[in-house]
């Protein structure tokens, strides 16, 4: 886990002082609403439907237990005792008082955290694979690279007023768990036949009202040039991205308008001047970044422990269910990654109470080297649990209500805060998630359905990633009334696809019935062991449409 040195600490401390000064001038009426807006946004502060919202950065999803405890403490004293993990691996507080925000940021700085560039038209928090560093299919640990990108993008003097927000995602594994194809820039670390590290650079992906899949700008960038190449990519966007219409201002619109060849030509022309310049990375700098992410001192796990673990799986059905869905294989034999489900009917997806945060921090200390990861599916991961401790951890999680054995199933819904909190939303999304979790709570049914991503967004900004849900639900507003559009066939992994809309939208109360009909078609049509997405790709939209809209 990255630890600040004096430079990092000074920077966040000075950032707090800067924002305190800005807030003081704003409250004194010396800084106008409009002028204050981008300043507060680039410090994570939104003005929301009911109250301000503060989005705290969790760089590439890595969180230490002492940080989680500090967050719990902050939510108790400055908020209502809970927080919300987002699809971009950040944490949102829903009820802070605006004037308290400089104090909150100052407290965050004491635990090496901040809210810098978590909103606004700038380079946002870089996201990554929640199994970085432990995944069996990993070619290169993306975290040191994410940290280098974090530093390069933090308070970058040239890119604080981009045409629109700019999101970078990085994967270093064979399977993409970071959704790199639907980001402004997606990076894939890979090795060529000579074993040299290369970066595949994608640009122009994104969701929102015009969802697009990213295109390849460069297949095989040598790692030394990562930052200079990113600088060229963003500079071309800063200069040529549209600024006349905020709905057409993302880089995807520029890439589409220019065509990928022309965008690439401009980037390469720019890069020709930056290449080999002072931001070129070298081995020593990368090694220094890598030293922040050492292998934890894992104890040896006896072979018999693995056998015992496997035996318990066959003997205990509940445990088996938990392991199948919430436990992921690890590159080190005898270790596993355990996903803590933040999806329960009583809470909005991604919500955690302060008490749960404290409890999870304790679990991280006892079971997983005091570290956690936040997933873009809005769950938490303990990444290094020895197999002979999984049963004990499972029991503790169960007591906390975080052992819901439904990770990756229909019940593991990705959901934005929606109209209950967000001032942009057209419709509520949390109650939709809850009504679906209520309807489809039978575990046997959920497992029978297999892997199924159901994603809900309360408006076309698509924070709930509905375009890439196998089933996607979008809240729309029609003359002041809330309706829901349902799409199917989206997917965020390597064979990425955008969902297709079934047809006319539905009343809120009809959504569970419609989803049920979609599932019935799948169950009736699927070949043995065929996943929902594959069945859809084989039979197309028509059978689903006919069933759902049948008179």
């Amino acid at each position: 886990m990255y630890r600040y040195d004096i430079h990092d600490q000074t920077l966040v401390d000075e950032r707090v002082a800067q924002f305190r000064d800005q807030m003081d001038r704003y409250l004194a009426g010396r800084l106008g609403e409009e002028e204050f807006r981008p300043l507060r946004l680039q410090n994570g502060l939104y003005i929301q439907r009911h109250a301000p919202m503060l989005r705290i950065a969790i760089p590439y999803g890595m969180l230490a237990s002492y940080q989680l405890r500090a967050l719990a403490d902050i939510t108790r004293r400055y908020d209502r005792g809970y927080g919300h993990f987002t699809t971009r691996q950040n944490l949102q507080l829903n009820w802070p008082a605006q004037e308290d925000v400089p104090d909150i940021l100052a407290e965050l700085a004491t635990v090496q955290m901040h809210a810098i560039q978590t909103s606004g038209n700038c380079i946002r928090n870089t996201t990554s694979d929640q199994f970085a560093g432990i995944a069996k299919d990993e070619v290169e640990d993306p975290r040191p690279w994410c940290e280098l990108i974090r530093q390069w993008s933090t308070l970058h003097p040239e890119f604080a007023y981009l045409p629109r927000k700019f999101k970078i995602a990085v994967t270093g594994a064979a399977a993409d768990r970071a959704a790199i194809q639907v980001h402004d820039i997606g990076l894939r670390l890979w090795r060529n036949d000579e074993g040299e590290l290369r970066v595949k650079v994608l640009a122009g992906g994104g969701l929102g009202r015009t969802p697009m899949i990213a295109e390849v700008v460069r297949e095989d960038l040598p790692w030394q040039h990562l930052l200079t190449y990113l600088e060229a990519c963003v500079r071309v966007y800063n200069q040529f991205g549209r600024r006349d219409n905020k709905f057409k201002a993302r880089i995807k619109i520029l890439v589409k308008a220019l065509g990928i060849e022309e965008y690439r030509r401009r980037v390469d022309e720019e890069w020709a001047h930056l290449k080999d310049g002072p931001q070129t990375l070298n081995q020593a700098a990368v090694e220094a970044a890598k030293r922040h992410f050492p292998e934890p001192e894992r104890r040896p796990v006896a072979e018999s422990a693995v056998t015992d673990f496997e035996r318990l799986r066959t003997e205990n059905r509940s445990f088996a269910r938990f392991v199948t869905n919430n436990v992921t294989d690890h590159k080190v034999p005898g270790y596993k990654a355990v996903t803590l489900s933040l999806k329960r009917r009583e809470h909005a997806p991604g919500d955690v109470t302060a008490d749960q945060m404290d409890a999870v921090a304790d679990l991280a200390d006892r079971y997983s080297f005091s570290e956690l990861r936040v997933t873009h599916e809005q769950n938490l991961v303990l990444s290094d649990v020895p197999v002979d401790e999984i049963e004990a951890l499972w029991n503790e999680l169960d007591a906390l209500g975080m052992a819901n054995p439904t990770v990756g199933t229909l019940n593991d819904i990705i959901c934005c805060p929606g109209g209950d909190y967000c001032s942009l939303a057209n419709a509520v999304s949390i109650p939709i998630a809850q009504s679906l979790q209520e309807r489809f709570e039978d575990l046997d049914f959920l497992y029978d359905l297999g892997p199924l991503d159901l994603n809900i967004s309360g408006c076309m900004n698509a924070c709930g990633h509905h375009h890439v849900g196998h089933i996607g639900i979008l809240g729309v507003d029609k003359k002041g009334e809330e309706f829901y559009q349902i799409s199917i066939g989206g997917n965020a992994t390597d064979d990425v696809s955008l969902g297709k809309i079934l047809g006319p939208s539905f009343f809120r109360q009809d959504v569970p019935d419609v989803v049920e009909k979609v599932l019935q078609v799948y169950v009736a049509e699927r070949h043995e062991d065929e996943h929902f997405l594959d069945t859809y790709r084989r039979i197309g939209l028509k059978p689903f449409k006919e069933r759902v809209y049948a008179k």
Partner: protein
Amino acid sequence: MPSNVDTPTDQALAHPPVHVNHLLINGGLAVENAWCVSYDVDVLPEQRPAFVPLALWQVNKQDEELAPLLLSDTELTAELAADLAPLPAVSIDFPSFTDGRGYSLARLLRERFGYAGEVRAVGDVLVDQLDYMRRCGFNAMALRDDQDPADALRLLNSFSVRYQTDVEERQALFERRLTNRG
């Protein structure tokens, strides 16, 4: 076309030249603050000295009381940079403080083309942008008139740490950490 100061002034009045109250130069408040900015693309202003739109300046280069104003959508070619190189000053416009193109323009002028004269930020120039502007190579900032010059001086250097290279710092922090330069 351009360059006739005798054209009727009603046209010029549509875009009266802007003269700000407070100008920062090289980290301090300027004593000399004579230059105005004229946005009229067709007509030279009566008020002098003046920054005028690039095309208008190009046909009036001999006039030493004029200097070019680069609008934020200016495409900075090598040819243009060569044209600007001998000048004592150029200005870059911020039509809105949220338009970040001027930062790239200033860096290109300084870093790619080695422009050594004054680079002045004009237009919607706010105190909270000065630190970034300075790092991108602006050494003169014409503050919007509602901005407090005391704030400007206080906020011009808000950070003692930077991760990236920029016009002032030619070594990235990752390099300085390796050499213990700090």
